[in-house]
C-alpha cells in the first residue's frame, strides 16, 4: 500500500502491562484516490515457557475512502459494548450492519482487505509477504476462530 511507521505506546516492551500500537500515530495511512487505513492493536507481553510471548488484547482496523467508511474490523472483548466476539461493520451497505461475526482477523488480513479494496499495493509480491507474516502468527497464536479457544471470553 505504502510506507508507514509503527507508533507504540510508552514502555511498549515492558512485560505485564497493557500496550497499544498504531500506524503513524493517529493519522493512519493515506493512499491515493482518498483511501485511508487505520490500525490499532492492544497487546500485552506475558511470560511463557519459552521466555515471553505477545498476546493480543483487542484490535480495530478501519478502511475508508473520502470519508466513507467501507469496513470497520473490530475485536474488543473488554469494555462495555456488550459484544465480545470478533466482528466487522460494513456501513456502506444499504441499511448498514450491526455486528457481523468473524473469526480472528489479523493485521495481515486487514492489509489485504485494504489492498483489495483500493487496488493499491507498494510491492508486487505482497501475497507472499503477507503469507510469510501470517505463518509466524499461525505458529504462535492461541486462538483463531473464537477467543473462547484461549479462554478469553
Amino acid at each position: 500500500m505504502g510506507s508507514a511507521n509503527i507508533t507504540p505506546s510508552p514502555g511498549h516492551l515492558v512485560p505485564d502491562r497493557d500496550n497499544v500500537w498504531t500506524i503513524n500515530g493517529a493519522n493512519g495511512l493515506v493512499l491515493k484516490d482518498g483511501y485511508h487505513f487505520q490500525a490499532v492493536m492492544g497487546y500485552r507481553i506475558i511470560a511463557h515457557e519459552s521466555g515471553y510471548r505477545v498476546t493480543t488484547l483487542y484490535y480495530r482496523y478501519r478502511i475508508a475512502c473520502v470519508g466513507d467508511e467501507l469496513a470497520l474490523i473490530h475485536w474488543h472483548p473488554r469494555g462495555n459494548s456488550g459484544y465480545e466476539l470478533p466482528h466487522v461493520h460494513l456501513p456502506q451497505l444499504k441499511n448498514g450492519t450491526e455486528h457481523l461475526p468473524t473469526g480472528r482477523l489479523t493485521f495481515e488480513d486487514a492489509v489485504e482487505w485494504m489492498i483489495q479494496m483500493s487496488h493499491q499495493s507498494a510491492r508486487d509480491d505482497w501475497p507472499s509477504v503477507l503469507g510469510d507474516s501470517r505463518a509466524v502468527h499461525q505458529e504462535h497464536r492461541s486462538w483463531s476462530t473464537s477467543p473462547a479457544e484461549a479462554g478469553i471470553v
Partner: protein, 65 residues
Amino acid sequence: MSARTESMPVIEEMSFEQGRAMLAPLVQDRLGITLDEFVSRYDDGDFREDDDQTLGLVMMLPFVR
C-alpha cells in the same frame, strides 16, 4: 529476506506527553470534552464502545496512562 528487512517500518515509541498531545485534540474534536474528562468518564463507565470513533479513542488510552 534481506530485501524485506530493508523495508521494515520504523518503530517510534511515543512518550506519555506526546500521547496526550495526540489524543487530546481528537477527544475534543469528536466528543467536545477534555482528555482528562474523557478518561475519568470512561473509567466511570459513561462511554459505550458502540461507535467506531469512540472505540478508537478508548483503544488508544495506553498512550496517555
